[in-house]
Amino acid sequence: MKKEELREHGFIVWITGLPASGKSTIAEGVEKELRARGLKVEVFDGDEVRKNLSKGLGFSKEDRDTHNKRIIYVCRLLTRNGVNAIVSLISPYRSTRAYAREQLPKFVEVYLKCSLEECMRRDPKGLYKKALAGEIPNMTGIQDPYEEPLNPEVTLNTENDTSKQNIMKVMQKLRDLGYLD
């Protein structure tokens, strides 16, 4: 891709982490700061996206892959037209995230590091509880694996650091990468 084209291209903040690791909080905060700069930004977060893009798909590896790839496809459409996007998605598999990186030129992988114990303690939607009771079969962190990113652009400690600290770290990284003034 030519330099000029790349400059016009939107960037992707891809937030990955266990359920209840704080992805939505970071996504909301980063969205607010990006909008404060007058940037066009779209947020893909959780159930709403699944309902509209992937109705009927479940949580098997195959279904997750399909769902994630659909999001990557939509992000590609947006970013090539100069719209930035924040994706807040468990996206537990390295291969899927590697595919996203390949497809999206300005890809910023943000890994939310939070222990499983802490995520289970938070459990705002009661998902871990249900998974442990056997009511949910493919819960990431319980039955299904979460493959930690090996080389993310940003690693956030959402267990000990405040959301402001983490949001500012993402903003700073976008600036360091030259995606923001």
Binding site: K32, E33, R35, A36, R37, G38, D161, T162, K164, Q165, M168, K169, M171, Q172, R175, L180, D181
Partner: protein, 462 residues
């Protein structure tokens, strides 16, 4: 809902010597606040520098906790690479972040570092760090248009290290005129519970004109045409403050603060020339002209320490395993640093006079420090001599700043005045600290003070 409002007037660099004593009788509005309010000297951060002092005040967190040690920071493990602080570098909540979370409307103007502009629950205008007014410098973005409709091109800052004094003064007045016009406009037209602004012009006039008014200054010339430049500017600002006070009601507490003080500069001391002389810094070749140490041909394999300029000096040690060509083994680090501290403290003035140089280790001033702090922080003759980072001189003692004319240095104490129209009293209280401002504002507005704020509520004002 509480009707309490707070207006914080920030006068960058205003020292108690001028505001409480020297000029006060010529500043009727500030005098009224002083006479009917509570005032104190306010201790600044170590070192007392604009960035991050305003954020120490706004967050009630020390520099170490903020991880901000100035405008410039050395990138770890490098000799010459730096990173610059910006608004995203402030990761702790400011008092206006907290007020916003409690539904209070805030207006924040020029409190550094404020570029890039961040989202607040209200309105924000960026600070002197804004690269140009062509950039977006407001939150929301649309506010910029309102400002431009009101004042034309907004002025972010002035070039103050210049010999063109008349031009600088003209720009300075124009900048301040526009700033106060914007503040007045926002106060009148936007909802607010809290306003804080910083007038950077006060700092700029100190640095540009101190030698013209301070009879003790080594470059002072009696009868010069700028003798009253600083006082007249203070009067101008006081008059503008008077206009803002007319827009406040009996529920508005007015607070006047500065981030640090100011005093006359006695000269500049070339830290790196001195380090060369003492054998701590080794060059491959003496420069033929004045250059920065970054441009010099340093023999890092023989160098133990190098320094940076500024109102204070920062010194970095060349440590094995930390710097690319480190020479000091970690086990010798403290021994060599202690020797260097002793040598620095023994420095005398150009005429052999005793200096009261202060040297701080990070453990002393940033016990829980994070990020990229220097190995030593030095105040030559308690900040009266600024530090020059450049080399190529015959002597370490320079009569003027190496980076353009600058007559003043920073001082450890700034000002705090608090005026509550319902509780008139007029008294001076014990010194307070920058850290105390944010909790005091929250207490006034009946908002719980987060337990991790480091300052105390100034009880005398409640």
């Amino acid at each position: 809902m509480s009707k309490k409002k707070v207006l914080v007037i920030g006068l960058d660099c205003a020292p108690p010597e001028l505001l409480f004593d020297g000029f006060i009788n010529d500043l009727p509005n500030l005098k009224k606040l002083l006479q009917h309010g509570v005032h104190a000297r306010m201790e600044s951060s170590h070192p007392p520098i604009t960035i991050p002092a305003w954020m120490v005040m706004a967050t009630s967190k020390n520099m170490g906790k903020l991880g901000l040690y100035g405008f410039r920071h050395r990138k770890p493990g490098t000799y010459n690479e730096i990173w610059l602080a910006n608004s995203y570098s402030v990761e702790e909540k400011t008092v206006w972040d907290i007020l916003g979370e409690h539904g209070k409307k805030v207006i924040v103007i020029g409190v550094p570092p404020a570029y890039p502009p961040r989202a607040v629950n209200g309105y924000l205008v960026s600070c002197f760090m804004t690269p140009s007014t062509e950039k977006d410098y407001t939150y929301p973005k649309e506010l910029k248009k309102e400002i431009e409709n009101l004042v034309g091109e907004y002025i972010i800052d002035v070039v103050f290290r210049t010999e063109e004094k008349d031009k600088m003064l003209k720009q300075l007045y124009e900048m301040t005129e526009k700033r106060f016009k914007v503040i007045e406009y926002l106060m009148k037209n936007k909802p607010w519970n809290f306003i804080m602004f910083v007038e950077i012009g006060v700092d700029r006039i100190h640095h540009a004109f101190w030698k013209f008014f301070d009879k003790q200054h080594h470059l002072y010339q009696p009868g010069n045409k700028y003798e009253n430049a600083i006082k007249e500017y203070y009067q101008f600002v006081d008059n503008k403050i008077g206009k803002l006070l007319k827009l406040t009601d009996k529920n508005t507490t007015v607070i006047v603060v500065s981030d640090h003080g100011a005093k006359r500069m006695k000269g500049a001391f070339s830290i790196n020339e001195w380090l060369i002389e003492k054998g701590y810094l080794v060059l491959k070749k003496r420069p033929e002209k004045i250059i920065s140490v970054q441009e010099a041909e340093v023999d890092w394999s023989k160098t133990k320490a190098w320094g940076w300029g500024g109102y204070h000096a920062r010194v970095f040690l060349n440590v094995k395993g930390r710097e690319p060509q480190g020479t000091i083994s970690p086990k010798d680090f403290k021994k060599i640093r202690n020797q260097l501290i002793e040598d620095l403290k023994a420095i005398r003035g150009p005429n052999g006079e005793k200096w009261s140089t202060k040297v701080y280790t990070p453990e002393e001033i940033y016990p829980d420090g994070k990020g990229d702090y220097p190995d030593l922080t030095i105040y030559f003759d308690n900040l009266s001599w600024r530090s020059a980072g450049t080399i190529g001189y015959d002597s370490s003692y320079l009569p003027e700043n190496d980076k353009g004319p600058d007559d003043a240095v920073h001082a450890q104490y700034g000002v705090f005045i608090l005026y509550d129209p319902k509780k008139k009293r007029g008294r001076k209280i014990e010194d307070i600290n920058l850290l105390d401002v944010a909790p005091t504002i929250l207490a006034i507005m009946n908002i719980p003070v987060p337990p991790d704020m480091e300052g105390k509520i100034v009880r005398e004002v409640l």
